[in-house]
Subunit: 104 residues, 2 copies
């Protein structure tokens, strides 16, 4: 895999206002989302429905955006029962922070 392509994919994922916003919200899930009766958001992540309510776009768009962030490596996805929980992959952000010192 060419790491240059990965970086490009990451920056494309980040070059959208709503997707940037989602990453912000997922930094502090319990501050930005109502409690989930199924699954603690701090542990398993936040389900698609709650994120959709928050940003106001259609269900299909939100699902797609979350997939884009996940494929870029910025989010983890956990499927549990009928829900998919998304949470930040903090290692990716740490790696990016370092990349800006050395690679980019």
């Amino acid at each position: 895999m060419d790491p240059k392509l990965d970086q490009l994919e990451i920056f494309k994922a980040l070059s959208n206002k709503t997707r940037l916003q989602m990453l912000q919200w997922l930094k502090e899930p319990d501050k930005h989302f109502p409690a989930q009766e199924h699954g603690d958001c701090e542990k398993v992540g936040v389900c698609v429905g709650l994120i959709q309510q928050k940003c106001g776009l259609s269900q299909s768009t939100v699902s797609e955006y979350l997939t884009i962030l996940q494929k870029a490596g910025l989010l983890h996805a956990n499927r549990v029962g009928q829900w998919t929980y998304y949470k930040r992959n903090e290692e990716a952000f740490t790696a990016l922070s370092k990349a800006f010192k050395t690679d980019i």
Copy 2:
């Protein structure tokens, strides 16, 4: 100014293969570009013409891309005589590296 908008502008600037490549080249100008008889590339930067030759796109596209990178704050532009010299704004990259630890 909303710093969130600035970040978005930066990521948009970075979400293009050629523009990422330009930033790479400008990390070590004298390694990637032939010598300029007018102006030392390490000091003043690299002129548009040399960058254009290197990436093979049209003159207008290259000029536009450099402007995008400059408006995002990633490059400095120095107009000297008939040439415009572009060089990296390393402070911006340092700031971005930090932003990935705290903001984003």
